[in-house]
Structure formats: C-alpha cells, structure tokens
C-alpha cells in the first residue's frame, strides 16, 4: 500500500470515480488545466478530457448552479470552491436549491452533487483563507456535511460522497493537505508518510457517511472532534496524560450519535472541539445532543474549545487557533470538575 498525502488521496478518489462512472464531471476555478490551486485535480483533465474536467469562470453561484442543472440531467458533478471562504456567493444555490430539490419535486429531480472546499486555518491565510463554515451547512436540511482528518478517510469518504444521491458538502482542512498538524506551529512540519493513516489502498473502497471513528480509546473523558482538531486532541491527550477517548466524527450530518452516546456514557465527561467560531457553531449542536442523551451519566459540565467569535485574524493566528494548550486546559478542567 502506498503512503500518500491528503491531496493525493482526494485526487485518487476523484480519479477512480471518473474511471468507474462517466457521469462524474469535475470543475471549478483553476481546476482543469492547472489541476487546482492545491493540485487536488492535477492530471485529471489530461486523462479524461476537457469536457469531464474543466476550468470555470470565477462565479461560485455559477459553479453550484450549473452543477445542479447537470445533476438534474443525470450527471454526477464534483465541483470545487477554491476556498470555503468563497462559498457564500453560492449559498443561495446550495441552500434554496440543491438542498431542497428532492423534497420540493417529490424526488422527480435530485442533486447528486459533491461540493469540495478547503477549509480551516493554520497557513497564515487571514480572514479570507481560513474559515470553517461547516455550521452554515449543518443547519440546512437536505445537505450532508463531511470533513476528513487523514488521507485514508479522505479517499473513502469522498468516494461515498460522490456516490451519494444527495448534495454533500465535502470540507478539506487545508492545513492537513500535506501532513498531520498537532497545533504545535513552532515544531517542524510532519509529513503524512510518517502517519499510519496515510496508507491508502490503490483500489476502490468506501467509508459509509454518518459513521464516526474512535482515534484513541480512553476511559476518562470523551473528546468529540473533526478535521484538524482530531490531531490537536491527540497531542493534548498525550501531553496532559489524560486518558481521553477521541472521536473523529468524519461526517457531521448525518451525525453518528450512537458512537457519541456510547462513549459519553462510559466516560461521563465530554469536551467538544472545533476551529470554527463558537456561538451557534456545530459544537452547540453536539453539546445539546450529549446533554439530551447522556444527562444522567455526566459528571461534569460539557466544555467547548473553539475559535473565538471574531473574524480569523492574520497576525494573531496562533492566539486564535484552538491549539493543544487550550485543549489540554479544558481536559484538566473537566477532570477536576
């Protein structure tokens, strides 16, 4: 099995699906000839031709709008929004159209789209290359929202997303493209090749949407995380020596409440992590779910560690990013509560 990066895993998944199904079409800004600003579609235009993988005008509403039309015809579009921070012009097409088409047409028309977008900070991208807008999508009925934390999952989840008959928002934490990231920005960059989850089979495999993974088993506290924060949680657990059970949600909607419930019933404590701003973030939903399902098992209040409720700043990136020190403090706090 090859050890590959998250970029390569994503490309691999798209490549495989284009080969298996000629209805899969791939497009977005700089996606065709150049292969995407992060190179996730590199080589696909050469391999499948210009009508299956192509550049689009700089119009996010246009990209998603034509994807919906192609989906209605019967194609299976996989489109890229260059940065999640630029998805807002497409929001109306996603929310009012893609998400509701099945419902309002009683299944006559559907939107089998995959909308990929790099998200999250950690690259000094400032407020327009760092956002984590997942809650804007999890709040919308009719959408599925997926966010992988490693190459193995990225490939299997993206294959499932492309095969899914409903619109899937596929968020790619860009800080993880080339290596795992513990949040220790002052330490040397670690390549994926040193991480076991960079071992990715060449062949087709699918990871069912809606199934979380336990990254670390533990008895003391449940940490619910996704994307980059999974790696931060692992670092914080190792550094504090707290026996945390770390859940990597992988799919936010549909949510794997069974795994969450089992874990919190076992540990009696829960810390929720995300990079996105706190108020009305997905952590609020998670906290409500835990409270509703596990209230009698909880031994301490649920804590959230998140980005602050400010735009993502440039110079203060590491004061903003919820790194291992802040996560470690929260772990200690729930243990002492």
């Amino acid at each position: 099995m090859a050890r590959i990066t998250m970029i390569e895993a994503i490309r691999d998944a798209i490549d495989l699906m284009m080969a298996r199904d000629d209805k899969v079409v791939v497009f977005g800004e700089d996606v065709g000839y150049f292969g995407g600003v992060f190179r996730c579609t590199d080589g696909l235009q050469r391999k499948y031709g210009r009508t299956r993988c192509f550049d689009t005008p700089i119009s996010e509403t246009g990209i998603v709008g034509v994807a919906i039309g192609m989906g209605a015809y019967g194609l299976r579009p996989v489109c890229e929004i260059q940065f999640a921070d630029y998805v807002y012009p497409a929001y109306d097409q996603i929310v009012s159209e893609a998400a509701r088409l099945r419902y309002r047409s009683a299944g006559e028309f559907t939107s089998p789209l995959t909308i990929r977008m790099p998200c999250g900070g950690g690259i000094f991208g400032g407020q327009t290359h760092s956002q984590s807008p997942e809650a804007c999508f999890t709040h919308v009925s009719g959408l599925k929202t997926v966010i992988p934390s490693n190459p193995y999952d990225a490939k299997g989840l993206l294959i499932s997303a492309i095969e899914d008959d409903d619109p899937v928002i596929f968020l790619e934490p860009k800080r993880l493209y080339n290596g795992p990231f513990s949040g220790h920005h002052d330490q040397p960059v670690v390549p994926w090749s040193r991480h076991p989850l960079s071992e990715v089979p060449d062949e087709y495999y699918a990871i069912e949407l809606g199934k979380a993974a336990i990254r670390r088993e533990g008895a003391a506290v449940t940490v619910i995380a996704y994307g980059t924060m999974v790696h931060v949680a692992e670092a914080a657990a190792a550094e504090t020596g707290i026996d945390a059970e770390i859940i990597d949600l992988r799919t936010l909607i549909p949510l794997d409440t069974d795994t969450i419930e089992q874990s919190v019933r076992k540990t009696g404590r829960c810390v929720i992590l995300h990079e996105a701003t706190r108020t009305s973030g997905f952590g609020a939903e998670l906290s409500a779910q835990v409270q509703e399902r596990c209230f009698h098992h909880l031994e301490a209040p649920i804590l959230r560690v998140t980005g602050w409720d400010t735009p993502y700043p440039h110079a203060q990136e590491w004061d903003y990013f919820p790194g291992p020190a802040r996560v470690g403090r929260a772990l200690k706090a729930v243990m002492e509560a």
Binding site: F34, I58, T310
Partner: protein, 421 residues
C-alpha cells in the same frame, strides 16, 4: 448509486450529437507565445467623443483600443495632451516607485518577513494615471493589484509596509492579509479578499454622493476573471438604472491565476462590450500607455462629475508577474509570453516619450531609479524596526477581540478573559 438516471441519448438521426465548448488559451507552456487575437490599432486613430455622448453612439469604442503613444513614442490623436511634462514625470516616478515597492516586498516575502505578496508588474500605468486624474475626496474601491493608487498619491510607503508586515504599527492591527490595505484618507476603500464584492459597493457610494448633492465620484475596480461574479452584473444594472457618478474599471490582464480571459467570456466579446446591454457608455483602452490611461480616466471622471453618469472602461494589459507569491505561472503559460505582449512595458513607453520630447534622459532616469530604490529601502528598514510577521513587536492578542463590534459585547469580553489576555 441509484436514482438519477440520465435520459437516454435520443438524437434524431439527422442531428449530429452535441459537444461542449471549453475555451483554451492560444498557447500553453512549451508553445510559442501568440497574441494574434489581440488586435492593436494604430495609436491616435480612435476618436475622442464629447462628454455627453450617448452610449449607443460609441459602441464601436468597446471593440477597439484607445492608444496615444505610437511606436516612435510620440503622443498622437484626439486623446493626446491631457498632461504637461511635469504631470508626465510625476506619473513616471509613480510607476517606478510602484515597481520598486513590489520588488522590495516580494523579496521581503521570500525572506519570511511576511506571509504573502502580490505584484502589479506591467499594470502600473493603470492605477497611477487613474489616481492622478481623480480629485481629493473621490473614493476608489480597489482590488489587491491597485497599490499604484496609493503610491501615486505619495501615501507613506512605511504605512503600507507595516500592514504587509502585520507589525505593531499596522493600522489594521494585523487583522488583514498583507496588501489588503485600507486608507480612507487616501480615498482607498478597505480591500476585501472576496472577489467582486466591492464593485457594486462603489456604485452605492456613488449613489450616496448623488443623493446628497455632493460632487465626489467613485471608482470601482475588478479583474477580468472576477467579472464573472454576480456582483459585477449587479453593479452594472444599478449603475444603469440610477446613473450615479461611478467609473467601472475592468483590468483585463489576460489571466486569472491559471485561467485565461477566455474562461471569463473574453473569447466572444470584449469586456468593454458588457456595458452595451445596460446602455452604459464604455471605452477599451491601452492600459500600458500612461497617456491613454490618463486621458480616458479624465474623460470618464469628468462625465461622472458633471452628472452624465457611469462609464465602463476595460484597461487592456498583461499580468507580467506571478498571480501571487503562492503561484507558479510556468505551470500554465509560456515563460516568454510577457515579452511577446504587443502593448509593451508602461514604464519604458513613458520614459521613451519623455526623452523624445526632450523632457527626460537616460541619466535622469537612472538617477530617479536610484533615488526611488533608496527611498523604498529606507522605508522598508523603518517599517522593519516596528516588527515583521514572525519577529519583533506585533499587534497584541488582546486587540484581536476589538472592532468586531463598536462596543465589545459580553461574550467577547468573556472569551478574551478565557484567552488570558
């Protein structure tokens, strides 16, 4: 995979199957640069219409290129003569300074003093000449590639550099990506990283000026690629309906990162021609010809100020440098392409013109360059004393919570306390 089934392909036998058109630039890496699709008329051949011309009477001007400087460097035709020698020298110095600033800040990025930089190489005439045709109080809504608007009005370079370095003297408190300046006193609106959003805002600013009976005008800026965004089209329809005092600038530098202007629709019609459907007068101008830029800008600005309404201008130019410090253009266009660009280099062309009319010399040029390089270097040293992205004094973590709202709400005060700052 189940429900969506594409309809069977049922073309009557007489109809050949459809195929999708996907534009490609004339040449890719390894090929010979080819600009034969850019038709360049002789300088001085395009008429200068009266300010109150009807849009319908100048539709042809969206399909040609207004040029003043001819091959010999002489200023010819109706559009010549908007500037005296002092004005021309000022423009030349502004362009040299913009280029020197870009070179210095590119180097600073390579040295790790900032995270990001974008050059405007080859496009300097547009921002510099346009700015020098505006009046104090007018407002630009610039893109990230219009640093010349600030530099041409002698805005302090140290102030710009401190923003680029996100240091303690950055007036924006380190919040914004480098080069996303904001300088209200310079008529320079805060730059958004989200493309196109500000085009329509400029129209709104101009509407406000008209509502209040003011005399100030607004300038909207956008790149060829970004004209695809809906905000561009919204701007045109509002400008068409309310006829506010706004100049709608499109900088067509042929590229939008790796996609050619054909992917923005430049294959079938010019960008200037987009104004026609809205009944807005439009011009297409040689953006590498300082005199043409100044004259056309002046024409449009005068129209706006006299309540004659909006003008759209396509500035035809070429993005000589990489898109940004994160980009490698050799992956998608021939390396020699910029040498083949038929409109030449704006600095060289203005320099040659000034020398031709006896108002400049190679020696003065070399001396001006040396002075400007020194000025830029001194500014960089001064700015670096206040810190660079990773070293020295920087904006505080505490300041990160300020300015989200006018008054900091309780939840942000609590979060600030939680961070312990």
């Amino acid at each position: 995979m189940s429900d969506p089934v594409p309809p069977p392909i049922v073309a009557p036998s007489t109809t050949p199957p459809l195929s999708l058109h996907v534009p490609e630039p004339a040449v890719r890496p390894g090929g010979k640069p080819d600009f034969s699709h850019v038709r360049v008329p002789e300088a001085g051949t395009v008429r200068r219409p009266p300010l109150d011309v009807a849009a319908a009477d100048i539709r042809d001007l969206a399909y040609t290129i207004i040029r003043v400087l001819n091959r010999e460097g002489r200023a010819v035709g109706d559009w010549a003569g908007s500037l005296d020698a002092d004005g021309l020298r000022r423009g030349l110095r502004a362009m040299i300074k913009t280029r020197a600033f870009d070179a210095r800040m590119l180097m600073a990025q390579r040295q790790g003093k900032t995270s990001f930089y974008m050059q405007s190489t080859g496009e300097e005439a547009i921002a510099c000449a346009f700015q020098l045709a505006l009046e104090p109080g007018d407002m630009n809504f610039p893109t990230y590639r219009q640093q010349g608007l600030l530099i041409a009005q002698d805005w302090p370079l140290v102030d710009m550099m401190c923003q680029i370095f996100s240091n303690e003297k950055d007036r924006l408190g380190g919040r914004q990506l480098p080069i996303m300046y904001s300088a209200r006193d310079a008529g320079f609106f805060s730059i958004s990283g989200n493309l196109g959003t500000q085009y329509v805002q400029a129209v709104g600013w101009a509407m406000a000026s008209a509502i209040r009976g003011d005399t100030r005008v607004a300038a909207a800026w956008i790149g060829d690629g970004s004209t695809a965004e809906s905000d561009f089209h919204s701007a045109l329809v509002f400008a068409s309906v309310y006829r506010p005092p706004v100049i709608l600038n499109i900088v067509n530098n042929q590229w939008a990162i790796s996609t050619s202007q054909a992917i923005a629709g430049g294959e079938n019609a010019t960008f200037a021609a987009r104004a026609h459907g809205y009944g807005i007068p439009s011009l297409r101008v040689d953006g590498n010809d300082y005199l043409a830029v100044h004259a056309a800008a002046r024409w449009a600005i005068d129209r706006a100020r006299r309540n004659l309404g909006p003008t759209l201008i396509e500035w035809v130019t070429y993005r000589v440098a990489a898109h940004s410090t994160s980009d490698d253009p050799s992956k998608y266009r021939p390396k020699e392409e910029s040498d083949a660009w038929p409109l030449g280099d704006p600095v060289e062309r203005l320099k040659n013109h000034l020398i031709g009319i006896g108002e400049w010399s190679d020696e003065r040029h070399a001396q001006a360059r040396a002075e400007i390089d020194q000025e830029v270097l001194d500014a960089a040293r001064e700015a670096e004393r206040h810190g660079t992205l990773h070293t020295g004094p920087k904006p505080s973590a505490k300041a990160m919570f300020e300015g989200v709202y006018k008054d900091m709400p309780k939840h942000l005060r609590e979060q600030r306390r939680e961070l312990g700052v």
